[in-house]
Subunit: 304 residues, 2 copies
Amino acid sequence: MSEPRTFLQELLDAGLFIDTGVKGLYARSGAFEHLISGIDSAFAALGAPERPEVVRFPPGMNRRHFEKSGYLKSFPQLAGTVHAFCGSHHDHQDLLGKLAEDEDWTGGQAATDVVLTPAACYPLYPVVAQRGPLPKGGATFDLQSYCFRHEPSDDPARMQLFRMHEIVRLGASDEVVEFRAAWLERGQALINRLELPFTLDLANDPFFGRGGKLMAAGQRSQQLKFELLVPIRNDDQLTACLSFNYHQDHFGETWGLRTHDGDVAHTACIGVGLERTALALIRHHGFDVSAWPTGVRRTLWGEG
Amino acid sequence: MSEPRTFLQELLDAGLFIDTGVKGLYARSGAFEHLISGIDSAFAALGAPERPEVVRFPPGMNRRHFEKSGYLKSFPQLAGTVHAFCGSHHDHQDLLGKLAEDEDWTGGQAATDVVLTPAACYPLYPVVAQRGPLPKGGATFDLQSYCFRHEPSDDPARMQLFRMHEIVRLGASDEVVEFRAAWLERGQALINRLELPFTLDLANDPFFGRGGKLMAAGQRSQQLKFELLVPIRNDDQLTACLSFNYHQDHFGETWGLRTHDGDVAHTACIGVGLERTALALIRHHGFDVSAWPTGVRRTLWGEG
């Protein structure tokens, strides 16, 4: 008896994903991208009443900002630094010689000023801090970008390069806490309209190393992170499609973010994984989009 | 007398660009992105009659494919390799120690399987080669992705991370030559509808090192590259907004791409720099988009 096809194999066979030879790095068809754009719009529409400022960062950020963010303390294993050749003609000949002999040629690559964006909101905080204290009532931003995580995997819902749409709130602690509470409701309402099964749960980030367990426990005990989870790869494995994060004053302290009243600003962000949510929809409603429930299609593309 | 503001400064002052502290790396406002999406759609519409297959790659590609492409021979200085921390708890402590002392901590980063995409079409050829010989009449693809070039610059039209939309043709040499000739006309027609001044000229790529001049001269003498140039940064400096490239059998030989008849396939690509074209429009029509000529707005957004 042959093995059942994996979900990844089904996606490849249907032409929605195209293999690039690297785990977690796929090209996608126009049909898949149409689905991504529907989810992107539906999520942005949820945030529209708050009139967020739309900002779009490229998929890379300032290395100095990244270093200062604290990411390397918690998740060094996931970050991607961008390196470049800065050598002479002689160095170039040496590089090409190694390449021809199938030897490692990358040792001479030097770190540039750019690091791949690890989460859509990381480049935002230093940029907002440059503007001075927040306006009265705080500020809200709408972000979307490619993010990189070095975690090669056979799970199609765990890519190395993927898109995240985020709504970010900066302000006084009560404003930020209220924002996250409202979005816990909104996020569930969206996934209900998309007719997907889900669980909402306390969660923690994948902190690195020996101290990681302690940090994860602290994050859980303070209820700083919630995830909305959907079975995607298979029925027994839940994947986070949305996350609802309260950072307390972590980024406020790091970047000197101040409220209108001069207090250290608190921050929160709500993120949706666009590819993950697309995969959840395919998993639960099938590969034939035209046969999806009318309400789902209306939510995504205003059809019906 | 104070210096006149540069175009970059005007973009920052108008809030269309947001400084990230790294040359050639900017966040953009929603208004700027609306402009990008208009150009993107107008360019795709030009290619629609050819019914290209839409494929979207993430901003990184398979390092093995990149190595085999020949890019490192010609443009080693522009490429961005992605590196990651793969060490132990002890290595992590060492990294954090260096970071705290403001020493270079990047020496231990190891090259991953991912390289930033240097041009939208580079990841395509090996993927198409996997499918076997081309169908009769060849194949046409519509691509769009972020690209990376390590060339930090004060020129807002020369970013390190920028978006390129490409139409790529693979087939017999006559099919591919005819495609490029048709697009030389179409590209000019589009820029005319956008009411931008331009020059069409023979061009060459920025080949590296001592042999670079010879390769550039060969590319010119064979008329392999044309560029459509618009003054953007100032009146005296022309910037390529579109390029029309005939690769002869370079990628066909490299990847074993075959036509329906079993010959080595030829390839050509037409690329538009989305940010560059947006900047050209702002430069020539002003910062108030609502005051732009009706025909330009109709071409971009179907308005009027």
